[in-house]
């Protein structure tokens, strides 16, 4: 188990290193120089004021989304649950976009964005809860209702955007999910939030493990299943909202990374929750590095200097393929 954590930690460092050198305009050699105290003012600014916070935000957001996904999947006993298919992510996006459109929040007031995203995420989850009604126990039904809720919330977001186009550029970034232009302010807001709710989620590892066994068994073993589930959902919504406020709706991380984490670290959530955080950080950071490298290649090929590929586009494509695998492997047997 320790070796798996170490291996993943090494992978995280490698991804982080690639991420730091992946951007345009600075060769790995220059980056190394700057890290060792050299380089001119511009180079230092690019590395310490742009690339480093971007890297940290990518790591943090990935960890948040992955933990939120694992908490959701355990609490709802649904392998197809994830922040993006339970209305949490689209709700958070709607909250953030609406608050920005109404002038209540914006790039100059990031905390308001987090709170608006939180409120939206709760509303999205509540909407699914009401809509699913008696079918809550059935993973497939919940997934179908989740798609419905996501579509409705996406439509509402589009309406807000049409009425109040405002900062359209930054809003579109939210919709797809990107780490472009994230600075220290985003990181300073993200890490305490992620730490508090991440620790809260880890403290719920015992009840969550029992919820994975099904409500009947959990209740018989002495767990107040409903209360535990409510607390767990609060953690999941808060973590998702934090990540959405920082990087937008990064697709499929919360849905698929938990499966990877359980495959690697087992169903003991005391280990697989931190494992999921690490895996999520690695995946988002790695995807962001790949997105930047491919942006460079594409820009050269298409001869367009400003072209950038958002990391969300990449995770969505990667995720769709992996989701297919999960769906085919999901067991439905009882004993």
């Amino acid at each position: 188990m320790t070796r798996r954590f170490t291996a993943l930690g090494v992978l995280a460092v490698v991804c982080a290193a690639v991420e730091l050198v992946a951007g345009r305009g600075m060769s790995p050699g220059v980056v190394w120089d700057v890290l060792n105290g050299g380089g001119d003012a511009t180079e230092r600014h690019i590395l310490f004021q742009l690339r480093l916070p971007r890297l940290l935000v990518a790591l943090g957001a990935g960890a948040c989304l992955a933990v939120a996904g694992l908490v959701l999947q355990s609490a709802l006993r649904n392998p197809l649950a994830g922040p993006e298919v339970t209305g949490v992510t689209p709700g958070a996006v709607l909250g953030a976009v609406t608050a920005t459109a109404l002038g209540l929040a914006g790039w100059d007031s990031p905390l308001a964005v987090v709170l608006a995203a939180c409120a939206g995420g709760c509303a999205g989850a509540a909407l699914l809860w009401l809509l699913a009604g008696r079918g809550r126990g059935d993973p497939a039904q919940t997934a179908v209702h989740g798609v419905l809720v996501s579509a409705v919330l996406g439509g509402l977001t589009a309406m807000v955007l049409l009425v109040e186009p405002g900062e359209l550029g930054s809003v579109v970034q939210w919709l797809v999910g990107t780490t472009e232009g994230r600075v220290w302010e985003h990181w300073h807001l993200l890490w305490p939030w992620a730490l508090v709710w991440g620790v809260a989620a880890w403290l719920l590892a015992g009840p969550l493990t029992l919820l994975r066994c099904g409500d009947d068994i959990a209740l018989a073993a002495g767990l107040s299943a409903r209360r535990a589930r409510t607390l767990a959902l609060m953690c999941a919504v808060a973590l998702t909202a934090g990540a959405v406020a920082a990087v937008g709706a990064l697709g499929f991380i919360g849905l698929l990374v938990p499966h990877l984490a359980v495959a690697v670290f087992g169903a003991d959530l005391r280990r697989s929750l931190p494992g999921a955080a690490l895996t999520g950080a690695v995946v988002v950071c790695g995807a962001d590095a790949v997105a930047q490298l491919s942006s460079r290649l594409l820009a050269t090929a298409l001869d367009s200097g400003r072209l950038t590929l958002p990391v969300g586009a990449l995770t969505a494509c990667l995720g769709a393929a992996l989701l297919l695998l999960v769906v085919r492997r999901t067991p439905s047997r009882t004993f």
């Binding site: 015992g206 066994c213 767990l223």
Partner: protein
């Protein structure tokens, strides 16, 4: 702690909207007794077990575990007194035997206690009790039906309660594993003085392993007593709606049933449709 605990069910009514299930059940299970609950599907056997485990609240009447009213106890406090083995359980991907059995300690250790590492002697004893300690690190989902049932029994035993409720512990098992599970229950009950109530569909098992048989019919107790008194052709007809004869095991002396055919199958069908 090691004192046996009895169950007192007093005038319990319970139902779902438009469908009464239990219509006034009175039952006292003495400490250390091994009781079998029998009856047709839907007669309220499982409901009675769930009420005794505090998972449902009676509409009328009350259920006492020892001295305590079950509905007044917290979920965790109840689970420290009574363990319930459900009829079926969903798959638990990625969980090992040891890990699943460890979940039985939740009531004793609490949410934060579950975070601590460390082997629990009660978990080790539970694994040993059902003879699964040799493959405790295998995945639960990879086991056969009989093995899984033993693991689930171990999880209930890990709750270390004085009362053990088993809802059809032998369903889906072949005869070999049915006897295996029942004999384990009988042995543990003798060793530890557990109070055991189990729902059984097989009257032969009930007559052989239980000290006392309680028959439910349409939400009421229809017969109650030692197997020899209760298992009669009359009981077969009235409670199980089967025509049959009753003999005696030539060696053990317990009653043996020879069931012939369902009674008034057509009327019964009409009644339920």
């Amino acid at each position: 702690m090691n004192e046996s605990v009895g169950i007192h069910v007093e005038g319990v009514h319970f139902g779902y909207p438009g469908r009464p299930v239990l219509r006034g059940v009175d039952l006292t299970v003495r400490p250390g007794e091994l009781t079998a609950l029998i009856g047709l599907n839907g007669c309220g056997k499982s409901t009675l077990l769930r009420l005794a485990a505090g998972l449902l609240k009676p509409d009328e009447g009350r259920v006492l575990l020892g001295e305590d009213d079950v509905t007044r106890l917290s979920r965790r406090a109840t689970a420290r007194k009574v363990a319930l083995l459900h009829q079926s359980a969903p798959a638990v991907p990625g969980m090992t035997v040891r890990h699943l059995v460890r979940q039985g300690r939740y009531a004793a250790r609490g949410p934060l206690g579950m975070l601590r590492e460390g082997d629990d002697p009660v978990v080790r004893r539970a694994l040993r009790d059902v003879g699964v300690e040799d493959w405790a690190d295998r995945d639960v989902d990879a086991l056969s039906g009989g093995e899984r049932q033993r693991v689930r029994l171990a999880m209930a035993l890990a709750q270390d309660t004085r009362v053990l409720l088993l809802d059809e512990p032998t369903t889906y098992l072949d005869l070999h594993h049915q006897l295996d599970v029942l004999q384990t229950v009988v042995r543990l009950r003798e060793e530890r003085g557990l109070t055991v109530v189990m729902v059984l569909h097989d009257l032969a098992h009930a007559a052989r392993f239980a000290e006392r048989i309680v028959a439910l019919r349409e939400g009421r107790v229809a017969a109650d007593g030692a197997p020899k008194q209760v298992v009669t052709p009359g009981l077969l007809a009235e409670v199980l709606q089967v025509a049959g004869r009753v003999g005696e095991d030539p060696e053990g002396g317990w009653p043996v049933c020879y069931s012939d055919h369902p009674i008034a199958a057509i009327e019964y069908e009409n009644q339920i449709h």
